[in-house]
């Protein structure tokens, strides 16, 4: 007889959601988190998109420590001198909230407390080393040579899934699976943020940028999110391209982003209050390992669940939804035929029927488009030349737009036929 019905490894959004759901179903669940306080090792941009958390906490929008709701969404291309932005803001976002900025240390502490309140045993400051096996069946987890036994284990250990890798149930991560995320939290008065981003109380801005000014083939995206009285700003850097470059420091890229002429004024007089970094899951469907086995399931970032199409960067909603699906699978298995590889295969079925795996399949291969010189160098430069061509009044007779576009394409070395083809591919995949 096992000590627990379920052990959940990792107290982030996936793990805490799973623990809440299991405890709500009267199962004996242990949640193990290596950080103490929980959340103090977790990093995210971060915007929590969607309403997945309502599955375990219907009133989360009223009770969770949220910074601001996304009222205004930006996406922009940055060249050395210019920025070409689209900014979408809508009163629809005030009626139905689609995203909230969060600071994970605070937010995850809240989630862990909720897991505890709902009846889970929450242990923090304890590091799980490996899964414990009997034959091919997982019988619990190993910690410092001790085995804690459980009928089932959910691995929700985040973007660096050491337990899964060291237990031999998922391959080590490769360049194409991850990006390097580097972030700073910059303090600014609430009113200053409201003024600079044209926001009212509780309204927030979330912006994603293509850092088209980086040299030497380095590719990175930037993000800028408003918290109540700080700004979360960061860069998500392609491991593959940074390796090919091999002369740019990951920690310098964020400084270049901060000092861009269209970003610097937004941060003026701000004080950097924290620097942080974490790997970001970026590989899409190709990076997803086998999600279940005899006695275990993998959820959240550890399973590679994230979504990025250049306009938006999501992970926490996938984490929460997958954590809940894993918990439900255990609840049903326990009520039915018991825990087995067969009964836990329902986890994948549940994910296939939800946005989690549907999105992964729908946007299969999108990384080939979002990471590439077309988006990161050519498009920003062409757009800049077109806009300058349209707007710079130099006293010369005006040209037709098609002439300006033609010249911009020519100087970027991009053939219009190639642009059409690549543009079509991008359009199809997005």
């Amino acid at each position: 007889m096992s000590e627990f019905d379920a052990i959940v490894v990792g107290g982030g959004p996936a793990g805490t959601s799973a623990a809440m759901r299991l405890a709500a179903n009267k199962l004996n669940v242990l949640l193990v988190e290596k950080a103490d306080p929980p959340g103090s090792k977790n990093v995210s941009g971060g915007v929590l998109w969607g309403n997945s958390l309502a599955g375990v906490m219907p009133d989360w929008e009223k009770t969770a420590p949220l910074e601001r709701f996304v009222k205004s969404k930006g996406v922009g291309f940055l060249t050395k001198d210019s920025s070409i932005d689209i900014n979408f803001r809508s009163s629809k976002f005030s009626e139905t909230k689609t995203g909230y900025t969060v600071l994970r240390t605070k937010f995850d502490q809240f989630l862990n407390k909720k897991a505890k309140d709902s009846g889970a045993t929450v242990v923090t400051g304890v590091t799980v080393d490996k899964l414990a096996f009997e034959g091919n069946k997982v019988i619990g987890v190993e910690q410092d040579g001790d085995v804690i036994t459980s009928d089932s284990v959910i691995l929700a250990e985040g973007a660096n899934p050491r337990v899964a890798i060291d237990s031999g149930i998922r391959p080590p991560l490769k360049d194409q699976d991850v990006a390097i995320g580097v972030k700073e939290v910059i303090k600014l008065p609430e009113k200053t943020i409201n003024d600079r981003f044209n926001l009212r109380e509780k309204e927030g801005f979330a912006g994603e940028y293509v850092l088209g000014f980086l040299e030497g083939g380095v590719e990175a995206g930037g993000f800028l999110y408003t918290n109540k009285d700080s700004i979360s700003l960061g860069a998500v850097i392609s491991m593959k391209h940074l390796r090919e470059n091999n002369k740019t420091y990951s920690f310098d890229i964020i400084e270049q982003f901060k000092n861009h002429p269209s970003i610097a004024p937004l941060l003026e007089d701000g004080k950097v209050d924290e620097y942080s970094a974490h790997m970001v899951q970026e590989g899409g469907l190709a990076s997803i390992p086998k999600l279940y086995g005899n006695g275990y399931m993998i959820a959240g970032d550890a399973a590679g669940f994230s979504f990025s199409n250049g306009l938006i960067l999501q992970g926490m909603n996938y984490a929460i939804a997958s954590g809940i699906a894993a918990a439900d699978t255990i609840v049903e298995a326990k009520a039915g035929s018991g825990i087995s590889e067969q009964s836990l295969s329902k986890y994948e079925e549940k994910l296939m029927n939800s946005f989690v795996l549907k999105d992964m399949h729908t946007f299969k291969g999108i990384g080939d488009i979002t990471w590439g010189s077309l988006v990161h160098q050519k498009m920003p430069n062409v757009l800049e030349k077109v806009m300058l061509g349209l707007l710079m009044e130099d006293g010369e007779p005006k040209k037709h737009m098609n002439q300006i576009v033609k010249e911009a394409l020519k100087s970027s070395g991009l053939k219009s036929s190639k642009l059409l083809l690549e543009g079509y591919r991008m359009y199809r995949r997005m």
Partner: protein
């Protein structure tokens, strides 16, 4: 905003340093003949530096991001999770 040196940014962080356990180790014989030392560019916490063309690694500044285990393609880096709530402690995350 003026450029902030990485050392100054790291000095903003709180750590509970584990003096008895290095959660990451490197194999000096591999690093010595490494042709790229990509770790020195990839690591966001500047834990990997070249001193007189020799790789120097210090785990104390590590923010446990996991980058180096992927960045090192030569099998030098061994990565384990920090233990006993040691390591970086973010206040915002």
């Amino acid at each position: 905003m003026s450029n902030m040196k990485i050392e100054d940014r790291l000095s903003l962080l709180n750590y509970k340093i584990d003096k008895s356990y290095a959660h990451i180790t490197v194999k000096p014989d591999i690093c010595e003949i490494c042709p790229d030392h990509f770790c020195t560019f990839a690591c966001p916490a500047k834990c990997y530096t070249l001193i007189d063309a020799k790789l120097n690694f210090k785990y104390e500044d590590c923010v446990e991001c996991g980058t180096c285990i992927v960045a090192c393609s030569h099998g030098s880096v061994s990565w384990t999770n920090s233990k006993g709530a040691h390591g970086v402690k973010y206040k915002y995350g």
